[in-house]
């Protein structure tokens, strides 16, 4: 069992990597993957601290996050496929019809 600070640092690193992925990449699929990494980082923090305090509430919260992540992936990917069918691309720099 490590210090919770170690897990929190790791969680921060994962979250940071996710942010880089979301900001620096133009492919919508990679952005979705990076969002999943961010959610994973958050879950690590929840569970590590919960386990350190001997309280499973952290696990329950992480469980809810996973539920939301699954729903988000399903709908997000369905939207991506629909967009790809329409525009033949999932590069977000080219998906700018809502911009004016």
């Amino acid at each position: 069992m490590m210090e919770p600070a170690a897990y929190l640092l790791l969680s921060g690193i994962l979250f940071g990597i996710g942010v880089v992925g979301v900001v620096a990449r133009k492919n919508a699929l990679i952005i979705l993957m990076s969002v999943e990494i961010m959610l994973n980082g958050v879950n690590v923090a929840f569970i590590a601290v919960g386990s350190h305090l001997g309280d499973v509430t952290g696990s329950v919260f992480a469980f809810m996050v996973m539920t939301v992540a699954a729903a988000e992936a399903a709908v997000g990917l369905a939207i991506l496929i629909a967009i790809y069918r329409l525009k033949e691309t999932i590069d977000i720099t080219e998906l700018n019809v809502l911009k004016w």
Partner: protein, 177 residues
């Protein structure tokens, strides 16, 4: 438990972080998905370390068995093997790097500076029963809301991925009379 257990922790943490970095930087989207697999598996390993056994299995089941498969499907449906490499270059810009570093600085400062209450005598307890009980009592409302959310997502995804003019198409899928 010092010595080998710590070493394994550092190994798993390094695996998780390294594959996460690969996800965010690899130009080939399929390789990103593979790296994502190892990142998810590493996080599941970390959950085992903090004795969250149920969550570790859920992590593998939901992320590897569900989300990663969906992502792979989306990759297959939106790319061709020959076009995968050129289709998504990495755009590095310094604002992004700065933002990320600042964010990480704040997060790590908070993590290190927080004083956690020391609770000695913690052992590897099974958490499944406790999680189930909490979900059915104290967190019943969030649990129900989550199930409604999942149902909505299910219907929404099915509706979105259905091609236009489904009525004519579905006729050929019926049993031959």
């Amino acid at each position: 438990m010092t010595g080998p257990a710590d070493l394994i922790f550092y190994f798993v943490a390094a695996l998780t972080v390294a594959s996460a970095i690969l996800v965010a930087t690899l130009p080939n989207i399929i390789y990103s998905a593979v790296a994502l697999l190892f990142s998810f598996a590493g996080v599941a390993g970390l959950y085992v370390f903090v004795s969250a056994d149920f969550l570790a299995a859920t992590q593998v089941l939901v992320y590897v068995g569900g989300i990663l498969i969906l992502i792979l499907f989306a990759v297959f449906l939106s790319n061709r093997i020959s076009t995968v490499k050129i289709s998504n270059p990495v755009h590095f810009n310094w604002q992004a790097a700065l933002l990320c570093l600042a964010l990480f600085g704040v997060l790590s400062y908070t993590a290190v500076s927080t004083k956690f209450p020391v609770k000695p005598g913690l052992s590897y307890q099974p958490t499944t029963a406790e999680i189930g009980e909490l979900l059915m009592t104290r967190y019943l409302l969030p649990f129900e809301v989550a199930s409604v959310l999942l149902l909505a997502a299910l219907i929404g995804a099915a509706l979105l991925s259905r091609p236009e003019g489904e009525k004519e198409r579905s006729a050929d899928m019926e049993e031959p009379k």
